[in-house]
Amino acid sequence: MVEPIYLFIILPVAAFLMGSLHQHLNRWQVFIFFTVLLFSFYLPIPWLIHLLKGGSTAQVFTAGFLPPISINLQIGIEEAFLMTIINLLGIMGAFYLLHHFRGTVYGPILYLVFIMGLNGIIMTRDLFNLFVFMEITSISLYSLITLSGSSENLTAGFKYIIASGIASILFLIGTIYLYYLTGTLNIDVMIASGYKIVGPAGSIALIMLLSAIIVELKQFPVNGWALDIYTASDPGIAAIIAGGSSSAMFFAAYKLLPLWSPSLSSIIAGIGIMTYVLMNLMGLKQVKANRLLGYSSIAQIGLLVGLSALLLHSTPVTGLTTIWIILGGLLINHLLAKAGLFWISGLIKGESLSSWSVLRKYPSLLFIFACLLMALAGLPPFPGFWVKWNIAMQLAQHKQFLWLGFIMLGTLLEAVYFFRWFGLIMKSELTTGIRVRISSLLPIFTGTFLMFFISLTMMNLLSGFNFNMLLPILIATLIFALKLIPGKLKALMTIFIIMFYFYFLLPELSGLYRLFAIIFFPLSALFMIAAMNKPGYRNGYFELLILIVLSLGNLLTSHTSLQFFYSWEVITVATYLIILRGVKRFDTALLYLVFSLAGALMILAGFSYSYAVTGSTFLGILGSSNSQITIYILLVGGFLIKTGAVGVHIWLPGAYAETEDDFSPIISAILSKTGILGLLLVLLLMGKSFAANTELNTILGWIGVLTAFLGALFAIFQEDLKYMLAYSSMGQVGYIVLALALYSHLGWTAALYLAFNHIFFKGILFLAAAGIIQRLGTRKMYEMGGLINRMPLSFLAVLISIIALSGVPPLSGFGSKWLLYNALLEKEWYLQAALAFFASTVAFLYCFRLIHSIFLGQEKTRFRQVKEASLWFLIPQYVLIALIMLISLFPNIIIEPIAQVMADFIPATLSWEGNTLMSSLGYWNGNVIMIITMGVFMIPLIGLLLRVRSMQKVKQFNIVYAAERPDKPETTHVAHNFFPHYQKALGFLVTPLVSKFWAAVSEWCHTIAGVLRNIYTGNGQTYALHIVFMVVLIYILAGV
């Protein structure tokens, strides 16, 4: 192991040599530069290994004296870890900056000094020495920033000097006072003699020191200068500031943490977390990429600062504990991701966010970009995800729920602007400005690769390695690598993989999980047959499908809430990406993501609350008796968002309707059931004594039935075929929620029967819609008409499915209605039953409108030559029809297994008498009904057929029309605004109040962000004033 003191010898010496001998060194200069950097990277590694193996923390005393006389350095596990990653970043950053440094000798020199300063800040245990190293980094950084000499750089650098100058003064005065009080400059001794830091002098000293640290950490509001630096300086430098100097300064703050009194400590926590929230809020208004990254960087450091103050101050921790993994993980996640983003920004010529759309031409860079964004947003499989999870758990354990709430808000805001940016890149016009250099790409790729590796390590450390959790991602990546396989082959492969996985999964599952596995695997594989129809490679589509479906399997096999949440988030992100592929405007996909992430955060909060109470993430128990209401609300709320319940449904129509036509059936029929699975799990795992009796179920039931009603009502006013089906899905899932809320055997049986039936008919409807839209090229129903002659098979499929939807006997829909009403009446939910009935009659309206506008009425001239929908769409439809017919004729083959599974949880109230299903109120024999209906239908039909001879089909317009002869199908086909009277009578119910509400929320967020960011005037004097104000504020808040 090399003594760390050599770092402070070799780096300056090298810098000195490079400066003085540069005329003679020529090419050797680069060699020396990298050798020295490599050395600095190597130095802490043996220490890290040694310390991880249990070695003791080393102290280095300079000049042979002990403190307080000497300056001492310390290299413990934290120091070694941080130095390793900062110096690694140093090398990667240097590599990236090579181009920038070309032609100047000062760049590399300053860079070396800067790196040395960072290492010094990390290792020193002397307060004054810390000040010195901070000055060294400041000065070298200032010089690095202004190296290119543009006026923008100079002013930004000057503002930096002003701010860091004031900070230095504060720091120095604080240090002097502390020295006066404690008689030492050594931080450890100072902490040990903390009792001496009392009185006005002590408080003032601490406040000044703290203020200086806060300025250096760029916390809100004293960070205007930092934003200007991020915006103005070269992205390579910005990367090293965001990653390196921020991390080192964070570590300095961490070292001083034990010095603060509890009140100061909570001020730090408050400032840190407020910085996180507010910076992310203001990020919403940014249009320049670098400035946005600046906001995000500051926010991330704020989070680190806040968390360290919250988690570490109260309980001193040593060694490799979870808290350390959180902070370390967060730091490294931020450091690598942010540096990577800054590095990419250096490649792109434009400043604006949309100018990044050029990335679309470089799929691998785009992939990296997406990975970095996901890492920062805390999504799996990146380190940020493990951090997010554990932050929630730890904060909940420390009962810091308010702070947890703020952090979640900040996370959500961050995700909003990052993914809006991603959407913008994917959907805005392609730009051309990019300069790709190998030297720039190498650090970017290395960094991302490292992040995967670190994520694996964190997974291993925090939850134990689990291959199943990685499998979906691995398979998807593998398929992604096989780029040149044609889409059809990939579709086949996808179906095969899914069925193969199902084959292995099924024996592991039992009961309820098995039923959901049938929903998730064979049925989605069936829907994927439709994908065979599309030509081309469709890169990404099948990979994401595999990712989604296999992760659905992982949801079912989850034993802990972490595993569940991991798969849940993977599904959310993959679904977002697949929606984004298909939509024309990115905001549809963004809306989906924002609501889904908000839901996921609620679920996370629920799990963390449960963890706080039970101390376990095992998915067998959720909460204890006094916490169940909160957990119930959080979890149910989160899952309700996924089901598109009324109030949080506004993401649903766009996501279902605007996505690719062959994905719509999957998202609306299959993926909507994940929310149902979640709700069912919550009700099951909350414990019967609570979940069966809580009044909250009544509220859940009302939400369900209102969703059913309003979904149907929205659907009848749609002119767009897919929007109508989307709203219909919303309504149908509302019934399932209602049935689940009943918490009775009959209710849950009804819920799952409804779920299966919904998959069957909604699958057919969306597949049929896909076939029609492909042939016609329009989604507007009034532009269609009379297609029964051109697409008889599609017509028959739609006919069967709307009968199954509307609940008209003898098809399967009646079974679902019968079960539902019996369950509702059994539970004495009478008014809900009435509203559900109303909703189901309203469903007739859109069912008829659907089939009439498309297939009946007058045929349009331009669609005379249209052919039947593609066979690939028809095959799954007819399989589904066969399934509907089967369960209509023999309802017991589906109801019996469901009822049996549910009887494991709640005693059964259903009984069978032959084929007759008996509830406490009524009875129903699907089999006989089918036969009777067939009979009463066939007799008149045969009679009529015998009556008629030599039938002739009349031509179009051959109708009795009051002596007029219509000749235009457009004016004769009644389809547009089909229910004007309903609009007049009940239209007030579909006023988009919810959309308006969320639009207002968004508007307010942006307005507040806009107002807030006005404090960043760009004026150095204002920034100085901010610092003064902050000092005063801390003084007041500290209450001295």
Partner: protein, 304 residues
Amino acid sequence: MLQETVTIIAYAFISLLVITIYGLTLNGLVMKIVARVHGRFGPPLWQPFIDIIKNNAKRTMIYHGTMFFLGPVFRIAGGIGTYLFIPAIHGSEVFANFSFSGDLLLVMYFFFFGQLGMALGAGESGHPYSAIAVSRGLAQMTAFEVPFALSVISLAIQYQTLSITGIVSAQQGGILHWTVFTNPLATVAALIALLGMNMHSPFDIVLAPQEIPIGPPTEFHSAYLGLLQTNRAIFNLAKLVLFMNLYFGGATNILILIIKTFSIYMLSVIVGVSFPRFRTEQSIRFFLGIPTILGILAVIFQKL
């Protein structure tokens, strides 16, 4: 087993035949009554029979497409089916029909079977009035089903069963056991809904003579119209028998059935000759107003 099945089917045929003849006579009678109220002489009592025979005797040579052809078949299948799922006469084996296959919910949903099929047939005719009328009819249907559903729920609470036979037996033993006396609110709500179902004025917005002559059946002629007219008698009776069973104690023999159903029908007739037609949205608002409130009250009072 086989003999049993054959017996049941044979009984169903007898029951259906009786009800068809009665239904057609009832329609003739009502036409006569309405005409007299209008001050006309009116057609003979047996006019519906003549109409059906005439229509069936005509040539049926043209059609607009498969669904158009099947529309009337759906319609009459819906009418017959609805009737056959209701036990018509309490305690009678012949008139028990196929009520063993499902309860009240089945009947309520089977109402829609014929409507949906007919709407599809009318839709394929391509006649704009047909589509407009279907749109009106469906819209009004959703509205009047609300008070009816509430009323049925109230009955389910009252009798703790959804079996029609069960509800009828619970009302036996005297006139005061009838639902109309034990649960007047539910009965009133349901009877108002029945006005909508029977589509006499002011709720005749579907056929709407002089406005969209004559709505869905516009394009249907000869044999198709014959089927529709036959259905009108059967379906009408099915509804009346259902209401008789639910609210007026059912019937123990055919005479009581005739008296009760005739009386219930007179309500629609009297209202029909007294009021002019609603617009569709007025009709929707009407049913979702007072009748729905009455229905909700009926549910609440039963629950208390």
